[in-house]
Every structure is written in C-alpha cells, then in structure tokens.
Symmetry: C2
Subunit: 368 residues, 2 copies
C-alpha cells in the first residue's frame, strides 16, 4: 500500500511545509515491520519526527526505550485522543516502558483549580478509557504531576529537575511558546520539561532513548525540552525523540476539541448519539444531489466520514475500495456515512463493555 | 532595663520609619518574660513584627507553633548569621517546632550550580555551626529544597504547593520584589513561598501559627507569602507571622556580607584572625587623639566594637557600663576594642571545641 493512499499524499504536502516551518524530518521510508503493521505509521498519519532514529535503533537492537506522553484532565475523552492511545498501546506491545503523566498541576494552574475533580476526570474519563482500549499495568508508569511518587527520592528528583532547569531558559524563550506568559504558565512549562526529561534521571531509568508522540501544535514544548536537555550541565541526557501525527478532524472540519461539543464523538457517547452526530454534523465531500454525485463523484479528501475511516478502518484494501467507490460516485454520502457509523457503533458497543471491566483495573495503575 | 538602652533608642527611630515605609508593627512593650530574658528581644534588636500576636498567644496558652527559617549555602557562616541562630535556639527551648530549609535550589539557580558543593557548605559550614551553638535534633525539621523528604507524600505536597501558588501571583508582583525577573528567580520565589506555607499543610502540621524571623530586606518575601496565603483557596492557612531584627553591621559599617571578606568575622576564623580584623578594620566611634577622646568622649552609636557587644554581651549592666564609660571618654577606643576582642576570642575558642563535637551529630538532623 504505502505510497498510494490518500493520506500519504496529504502527508507529503504537510512534510514539505512542516520541514520548512518547524524543521522536523519526514518519517523514513524503511520503517521496521513492527511499525508498518500499524496503520498510523503505514498510512503516514504519523508523518514526521525529531531524532526518531534513536528509537528505531533501540527497536532493531531490542534495547530498552521509553515512550512518554501526558494527558490534560479536562472535558471528554474523544476519538481525537485515540490516536495517541493507539501509539501508547503499540509501544507497550513492543516492550517499551511507558511514562504517562496527568497534567493536573497544569490544569489546576490554567483551567480548573479543583484537584479532586481533576483527579476524578483523569481516572474516570481518561485512564478508564486507556485500560478499556488495552493498556496494561506492566511497564506503565502512570502518575500525576501533583503526586509524582510514593518514593520520596523519586518525587524529589522529578520536582528538583523542574526547578533546576529554570536556570537554563529565558523569559523570551518561554514567551515565544506561551505568548502571554504568567507565573502559572511558566510553572507548568517547567513541570512539562521535567515530565519529558526525568525518565532519564538516575532515580528513574538513567540515560535512555525517550520518544514523545505529539501533534505539531505541541512541538514548541518538545523544542524547549530539547534546548534545555542540551544546556543542563548536571547530567548527560540522550537526545529526546518525538513523532508528529495528523489530527483526527472535528465533525464539521477543523480541530476535534473538548470545548466544542459538536466537534467530537466522545468515547462515552451512546451509539445513538454518535450516529446522530455523524448524520447531522459530519462534513461531507459529496455533491449537492444524488445525480450530480453519481456523475462527478465525491471528494474523500475533505469528507470527514472518510477521514475518520482512515483512522478507524485498519484494513487497507477495504479503505482503498471505499476511497475509490466514493471518488467514482458509486458510493453515496449517506452510504459512506453509514459505513463510518457502523464502524463507530461497533467500536463504541465493545468499548462500553470493556469500560465496565476496566473500572476494576484502575488501582493497578495508581502507584502513588 | 528596657527603655533606656541605646538600642531601644535606635530601635524607636527605626520603628517610625519602618512602620511608615513597610507597614510593620513595633514590638509590644509587654512581651512575656521568656522573650525578654533574651537580650535580642529585651534590647529591641528584634524591633518589629507582623501578626506576632498569634505567636504570643501560643506562648501564653502553651500551644504548638512553628518557627520557620532558611539558609543560603554560600560563603562563610559569620557573626551576622548568629542573630537568627539565637532566635532558633530560643524558640527551640520554648518548645516550638523548627523548620529550617537549605535554599539549595535557589543557590543553584542564582549562584552556584554545583549541588554537591552546596550540600557540603550547608552541612559543614552552616549546620555544624548551628549544632555547635546548641541546636538539638528534637522537633527540628532540617531539609534541603531539592530533597524535601524521604516520604513521597510529603515531598509531593511541598512541591505541589510551590507549583500551585504560581496561579495566585502576577509577574508584576514578582518583579516588584526581584527586579529583573528570570525563570530561575521565579522558580526560587515559588519554592520560598512553599517553605513558609507548607508547614501548615495537612501532610505536615496542619493549620498552625508560623513565625519567620527576618531582616527587613526579606520583608517583600514575607509579604508575597502572606498575599498568596490569603488568595490560596484550596486550604485555609493561619496568618503567617514575622519578626524583624537589626543587622549586625559589617566591620567597616554597612552590611556584614559573605561576599566581602573584610566585612565579617567568620565562625571558623581563628581568634588571631578575628583579633586582627577588629583591631585593623572595626570602625571606631572614638576621637582622633586620646586627649580629645578623654575630653569629648566616644560615640557608641557608630562604634562597631560597641555595636557587636550589644549582640554579644548579654549582661545589661556590663553593657550599660561600657556604653557610659565610652561616652564619657574614660574608656578608650583601644580598650573598647579589647573588650570586644576578649568576648569574640572567648566565644570562638569555645565554639571551635563545640564544632568538633558537633560533627558527629550531623546525621541526626538529616532526615532525607
């Protein structure tokens, strides 16, 4: 498949712009099978990286590495979040150690100063979905920024690092990332840097390759952490790696965002709610009338239902067939939407069952 | 004594200026005997306060309270530092719980990025002197900002507080205190606020009166901590108390400062070095010739040797006699210097003996 999928094309266009603007590198063409077996890598949904070769080397030589990611405990867990989870699960299966931080201090400082509520959202809205999707407790270091560890040495090291790196940055650098900078934002930025770098402290793994999968909007944080990593004199860090994935778009196009209820399908939406949202709001690439559609064909590149399928339908042949049928006009918008609805419905029904089982697993992940 | 000592007079003058400029209150006249038994309180060397009534109430009703202070592990421990130690020892004898922080993160961020060296200075230059002067391990919570606790819950709470309070302040407030603000200074300021407020967290003592003895130059930090204390919504704090003491002046007048070797007598100076410094550098309030001195008398208010004696000579009658003899001209500058030298020599000889014993005590204070 690889070179002919629509996503690869879109990916290629992004590469050029992003390589230019952000200085990130396109994904190498010769990824190992363990990665291309996953449709996110295979289709170029994960399209770019910084120093991912360190991770590729680890995979090839079967050496240890860490995948680090964070979650912001606010709003609903939606399909847009699933792209990161799929990567979490992939890396966990490959034997990587996971570091997953709940950015509760950042949420407290910038959004919602109710720590109890933040904890509840993190566990009942996020962690439970991670578990239902397949996250295992083994090699999974799930923690809250406010409660890094039961073990004082580890807590001290994590927070000390956040405080120490403050000497390695200037306000202008922080302003370039956060715009209107406040003490609260700076404090959150320093913790975030520690989230990304502390796995390499001697109190944790020691120097080790660490990859952080993000959307391009998070790249300034990656760059800040990398700059600090080079400047920090007290300890040698291995260069931080990152990968960049395309966002799952919102129902009406644009970003899928927790703050816009009509932009997302939540993982706790009922199949009926999801069906209704797709029918009513999912932006279509079809023509105005059935006659016109049959004649001119639809445009899968702007069709949200089709784009969702590139994330959800792992079978390349099926996806390619849908793409061609829609483009030729033999597949109508209502039919394409129904394929998407069926996929989402099947997913949600199974997921809700898994959620019930997942509840009991939560304590296994809480190490504080 | 109380009302007639020279220090009381100087104190009165400061009160007016400081009450006006800083909004602090003069020490009440009816202090309990346990305080006036100490010459620092009795002579008005501790001349002002904020909300010290909370501590006075605790003393009167024999309720628990905390004395919090910090040390910056840089340079030599000198006589100027002793004023705080005397208060530490006084409060410890009274049964207060002590919180003593080593501001190693602040030192790392703003002075010397060598944590091992900072630790060495803190223990071998500071803590050892505290112990030699009489500090006991009981009820003494001595800690490093970089290593708050062995107990993860306590570490987490201390650092989380520092991070959370960032949302309660603006950059302009921090700038007003630190002038040219950097991420490193902000980070240190937030830790310092946590140093002062965290004793009241449920993980430590819970709400309790806390007094911080400082020089007036530290008042902006106190005010910042008090402002935040009122604004912090997650927990109710008791109002933070502070007291203000006069600085022991440098040998040539001005401030006694670790960064100016000729301004201070260190507690590790030999009696010969100290004698030499006092003879050579201690600014004198005497007249140009012996004849003139006998006729006009000296000025103890500007004489450094005399001022040192107000800190070192605890016997009011002796001090008063020296004051009057010097003022009348019957006591010459060289004689006054010798009294000071004798006092300092006796102190240093004993102190150096105590230091040897103190070394073995260090592990009892290190709880991390």
């Amino acid at each position: 498949m690889a070179t002919v999928t629509p996503w690869e094309v879109k990916g290629d266009i992004d590469y050029e712009r992003l390589i230019k603007e952000f200085g990130i590198s396109p994904m190498p063409k010769d990824l190992p099978k363990v990665l291309t077996d996953n449709h996110l890598f295979r289709r170029g949904i994960i399209y770019g990286h910084r120093d991912f070769n360190k991770i590729l080397d680890s995979i090839k030589s079967k050496k240890k590495f860490v995948m680090m990611t964070g979650l912001m405990p606010s709003g609903k867990f939606h399909f847009g979040h699933a792209t990161v989870i799929q990567q979490i699960l992939l890396y966990q299966k490959m034997g990587a150690k996971l570091y997953i931080t709940v950015a509760d201090i950042e949420a407290y400082n910038t959004r919602n100063p109710d720590m109890q509520e933040l904890k509840k959202i993190a566990l009942e809205e996020y962690l439970i979905n991670y578990i239902a999707l397949g996250l295992k407790p083994k090699n999974c270091n799930f923690y809250f920024q406010s409660q890094r560890s039961k073990d004082g040495k580890k807590s001290n090291a994590y927070y000390s690092l956040a405080n120490k790196v403050s000497r390695n940055i200037t306000f202008n650098e922080v302003k370039a990332i956060y715009g209107d900078i406040t003490p609260a934002k700076l404090s959150s930025a320093l913790l975030q840097v520690s989230d990304m770098l502390h796995p390499q402290l001697s109190e944790f793994e020691g120097p080790i390759p660490v990859v952080v999968p993000v959307g391009i909007d998070q790249d300034p944080h990656i760059k800040l952490a990398r700059d600090i990593m080079y400047r920090f004199k007290e300890q040698k860090f291995m260069t931080l790696s990152s990968t960049y994935h395309i966002f799952m778009p919102g129902l009406k196009g644009g970003k899928m965002s927790s703050s816009d209820q009509l932009s997302y399908i939540s993982l706790t939406d009922t199949p009926e709610q999801a069906t209704n949202k797709i029918r009513k709001y999912a932006f279509s690439g079809g023509q105005a009338t059935i006659e016109e559609h049959r004649k001119k064909g639809g445009n899968p590149h702007i069709d949200i239902s089709y784009q969702y399928l590139t994330f959800l339908e792992e079978d390349d042949k099926k996806l390619k067939q849908i793409y061609e049928n829609y483009k030729s006009g033999s597949l109508l918008t209502s039919e394409l939407k129904q394929i998407c609805i069926d996929k989402v419905t099947k997913f949600l029904k199974n997921h809700h069952k898994q959620r019930e089982k997942a509840k009991k697993q939560i304590p296994k992940f809480i190490k504080f």
